[in-house]
Amino acid sequence: MHPQGVAAFPHYFVGVNSLAELATKEDRVCVLNITGGESRTVTPVSHIYSGGNIVCGTSPGRSGSMVKTSAGDIPVFDNMAEAVNAGLKFNVVVVYLPPSGVRDGVIEAVRVNPNLKKIVILTEKVPVRDARIIRAVGQMHGIDILGPNCLGVADAHNHVRIGGALGGSAPEESLIPGSVAIYSNSGNFTTTIAVYLATAGWGTTVSLSSGKDVYIQYAAPEWTHAFHNDDRSKAAVMYIEPGGYYERELKFEKPVIACVVGRWKAKLTKACGHAGAIAGSGDNALAKEEWFMEKFGVDALFTPDNPVCSGKGAVVTNISHIPLAMTAVMAKHGAKPDFAPVGDLSLKCWFSNTQGLDLPAHLTPPVVQALAPYDDQIAALGEQVGVVFPRQTMKDASGASMMDSKTQVTRIHGVSVLDSSTHTFEENLVQSLIREYPDANGSALANIALNAFVNQAGKVGLAAADAARGAGNSPNTSLAAAVAMIGPKDVAKSRDVATALVALFKKSGLADPGQAFDFSAQLAAADPAMFVTPMNARKCCELSASRCDAMIEAVGARSAKSVFIDFVQALAAKQGGRVNCAVLLAAITTHLAWKPLMRKRISAMTVTNLPWHFRIFSTLIGSAASSAQQVTDRFCGVENAELMRGWSFTETAHLALLGNRPDAEALYAFSVLLGLIISNGPGTISAQGAKGAVSADGPESPERVQVNKGYIGFLTHTGYAHGGNGFEAIAFLLDRFRSSGLKDPGSAGHGLDLAAMATGYAKEYKGYKSKAKAEGNISYDKIPCVNHPVFKDKDVNYDPREVFVNELFKKRGAYNVFHEFYHQLVLALHKTGVSKNVYCVNVDAVIAVILLKMLWQPYADGKISDETMEAAAFTTFLFGRMIGSAAEIDDHTNRGRNMDTRTAASACSYVS
């Protein structure tokens, strides 16, 4: 019950009599789901390549829109009926519908368009059930169907491609007109075979990707007939995979190279009954090889070493052997290749890095120039400095931080905060932006740069912070006022210099700016106005000259080395001018960033912004101390020059917060504390604030992102509940120890019976809890810093982060009475029946006990109040969290899209 088509097929319908009819200049195409993900990129290329053969497409709900192409726009309709009613004529339908819609799409196409002759189905994973029906519908209506799960058809002579992406985004590269027809079960290999054939000088006529489902709707028998009738096709390549009997009865009238692959698949086949076995002698690769060998009259496979072939053809199992086999078989007919060979199939290494390993010669093929246009693209890579991150929606996503939900440990650029806590504050600040830790020389330079700008005396930002504090604001609010004053104009010079240094040195071969380097070429090429301030110029501020001198002096004092500092000094000497401190700052930050920049670990934009981040770091720490503690040349009583010369920035932060230089133990404890609170991942509120601020500025124009506003976002997204709550644990401990007579919390000989104190409190708490429950109060006060929603199910529970830090201190022989009390407390809570198992002491307790130990003495001496204690706890959190926020701000600037943190209205809810 099918119309009569080509007479050679009396039992079923075939409409195409010659391959020349498969993809013609006259074919007019309608693409179903034209705006779908795959079609959106493929269809315009096909349209342009084919000279504008697509008359329309469908996409429900998008009627009236256009798919724009350089060969003319393609109108989009809701459905085919609408297109037909609009008077559009097409004889081919290309189906890009999802699997569930393919069958109905075909039926609809047949129903509404009486002129339909061909359907090409690209969709993969079409159910066999639907393929059965599609076959029957096509047969009933006399329509040739190609696919499904194919890449369509292309005719290199006609310059027409219908359906999928044969030849990819540049079809001319692969589809070179010639005399060979291709039939391939593999879409990818359809193009790859064409490319391989060209290396032996063979071009193509029609390339067909047949698909490889159970139902190959346009299969080898009808293709072979059409091949015979196409005068342009002198020979063919058939790429055949195991499964199906489509090729068994073929009879060829022209030479064919059959590439049969997949012998190994026989091992994987799972038998299901006898049905397959009855159908024939098996349809695995070995059987298919034999079918073709019998047709060609050969007794072996063709290989370069054993080139067995006849005038009828050859069987290969490696597509690399196809060109050679084609030439050998065609030579038996006296036929020569279509054109001079295009390239060859030898190994061509385009990129290589042996990491300096001593590899054997056969593993180190030379890196060769790629063929056009790839050679130009690779050359352009050399021009690009630093990584270019692809932009994507970064809402709740981060390329900087990641919290492991199982361990609750956050990583910043792959380093866990536990490991971060063993690094200094300044090292973590640098790592947050350049994604790796600086070496000792880099740390020295970072300390100089950060300390150089920490003194805020006379700055409007400090005045604003003081005013904010005076108005009763929390520390984060007050510091935000100061950070607001470090705007783009304040850092314009440093950013320009950093950008200019990258431009000057990017192709210089400079690998390590800590090593000596001949920069004479850069000296000659540099624009002096960018780097050098004339001696007689007005100072940018009173501090500048002395600060600049102090910075240079500090570089010498710390025996630090930097090519960039040497360079700007040499340039200044050459010009008879001096170096501005803004220039020195940029030289130092560019030094720090250089190696990861060259390794494409960070972007050029990060390097440009580094001085800005550094200025903010200095400002935030500096503004934590009030104006009463700062004069022009001294910060908290220490000379600026001395800070630059000999203080680490960790020590300076301690100074700003607590008014003194810490001893080794206190410094270590302070560093651990800051490292532990760097981040809790992109979902934490402080990170959300920072990311939101960047997102709102539009990171797709990264030069417009206000870095300082990112920090304000972080600061405004902390508060008494987030950051300030660390004080709860301190207050809890103060209540326990206030009257204890404790002198030195770092001494194990404190004389206190901690177990008794803990048990006493546990009993007291048990009574309180029982009473509260009896009164129906379920929101009774919880003991801070014990128990954890993740680490809670064992008889004795541990927070691995707390364990890690506890071990760190134990190894150093450090003692903390508050920490020890917490351990006694969880035991006591269990013994007294408050808890069913032994709670863990969680990581927040660690933060509280370290801080309280640092503040105990001045508190016990009555030098600081509860309020000061609370502010110190909160500010400490801000110092540490600034590190993680810096990473998020820079990462979002590099990767994010404009306004990508917003929530779709559909995901929002109204609450009445």
């Binding site: 009954g273 490696n318 290494c349």
Partner: protein
């Protein structure tokens, strides 16, 4: 996914009202078994294999008992029976007890899609109960039919007449066999085989076909299979944990076909395209851990998921990570390479760095951007690598990957580890 045997097959046959022998599962009580023997005279005891295995009877994995004691003995023998077929071993997980059906005739019947006819096709013979493929073609009828009209009685009738089937078989089979089309077509099957169907007599000359075994294969791409509500673990033995985890990603764009080739392999190949998959798997042989096809332009998220799973299962033991495909038509090289590179970085972050040699051969849209991203990542991870253009013969690139694997096996792994500052 396959189903073998009446344990689950019975429920499917009941859906369309096709008669079948009585069946009890491994949980059946002594009383139930005894009662079945009393009703049917004897019972067959068959081991339950998840998925499907063929030729159990030929392997002696079929018991028959006429009393409870013999039935229990056979149960003990077959409960954990092992069966080898096509180099794969299956282990039984229980037995079924199936009531014997006395009959004069045994019918073989199957429904499948024929690639010769490109139509659904029945295969039928009344010479059932033996290895059907050993019968001469003249004794078997293979008849295609139109799926738009379905399997009709006249197709059955014509088929049986063409092989001279006894007249008394025709009417009952014409009456019952068309029911199977519904089961086959509406629930996403690709093969349905009943062998044997025993023609049970009612004593008055009237015969009824009773299915005494059941086999079917389902189409993994057909959502109609889900309507059967089959247990999730029905065919788990057919797939490794790795394969199951990757298969769970089949739901969205892009191929994600994987097979475990060698659990102790040392080259893990991320292969793109069915052609590349066939070629690479063939050439790598047992050096490969897996055979994969990740072509079809998978989006970033899917490719990242796939890479994460592949790395998790196979990277630790691998010397070579091999990324290989032809010149892609529509797979975005930048997106896929970015996903694989990011997943590799994440893997190193989560599981620690390891010595690895990376070999890449690929072509397609955004090729240089993709290779550049991979290059940057590998540079940052400190791994040695070579990337080859698509104009290099793919088989030569495979040879290179094998050479790199050989070098790693012979001391190279330690050298790379030392350079990376880690343990081999």
């Amino acid at each position: 996914m396959n189903i073998t045997g009446l344990r689950h097959g019975a429920k499917l046959l009941d859906l369309v009202g096709f008669p079948r022998s009585e069946v009890l599962g491994p949980e059946a009580s002594d009383q139930e078994i005894k009662s079945l023997i009393d009703r049917c005279g004897s019972v067959f005891i068959k081991p339950i294999f998840k998925g499907g295995v063929g030729k159990k009877g030929k392997s002696g994995l079929l018991g028959r008992a006429s009393d409870l004691a013999a039935a229990m003995k056979e149960k003990e023998r077959l409960y954990f029976a092992e069966h080898f077929h096509n180099n794969t071993m299956a282990k039984a997980e229980g037995v079924t007890f199936e009531g014997a059906v006395p009959a004069e005739f045994e019918i073989y019947f199957s429904l499948t899609d024929s690639t010769e006819f490109r139509a659904p096709t029945i295969t039928i013979t009344h010479h059932g109960g033996m290895d059907i493929e050993e019968l001469p073609p003249t004794m078997i009828a293979r008849i295609p039919f139109d799926p738009l009209t379905g399997l009709k009685g006249f197709v059955i009738s014509n088929a049986l007449k063409s092989i001279n089937a006894p007249a008394e078989l025709i009417s009952p089979l014409v009456q019952h066999l068309p029911k199977l089309w519904d089961l086959f077509h509406q629930y996403g099957m690709t093969t349905l085989e009943l062998n044997p169907i025993r023609m049970k007599s009612d004593g008055k000359g009237r015969l009824t076909p009773v299915a005494c075994d059941f086999k079917c294969s389902f189409d993994g791409d057909d959502p109609n299979v889900d309507r059967l509500g089959l247990p999730d673990d029905l065919d788990t033995s057919s797939y490794s944990n790795f394969e199951q985890e990757v298969n769970s990603l089949r739901t969205y764009q892009g191929q994600s076909d994987v097979f475990v080739i060698n659990e102790t392999g040392t080259i893990t190949a991320m292969t793109f395209g069915g052609g590349a998959n066939a070629l690479v798997t063939e050439l790598l042989g047992d050096a490969a851990t897996i055979s994969s096809d990740f072509g079809g332009n998978p989006p970033y998220a899917k490719m990242h998921d796939i890479s994460r799973i592949v790395y998790k299962y196979w990277l630790n033991q691998s010397n070579v990570l091999f990324i290989i495909g032809g010149k892609a038509n529509n797979t975005d090289i930048f997106e896929t390479f970015r996903a694989m590179a990011d997943a590799l970085r994440d893997h190193f972050n989560a599981y620690g760095a390891q010595p690895l040699y990376v070999v890449v051969g690929r072509g397609g849209p955004n090729l240089i951007r993709g290779m550049s991203y991979m290059k940057d990542t590998l540079d940052a991870l400190g791994l040695p690598y070579q990337m080859f253009g698509f104009d290099s013969a793919m088989s030569e690139v495979v040879n290179y990957a094998q050479a790199a694997d050989d070098w790693m096996k012979n001391g190279g792994r330690e050298i790379v580890a030392k350079r990376m500052g880690i343990q081999a």
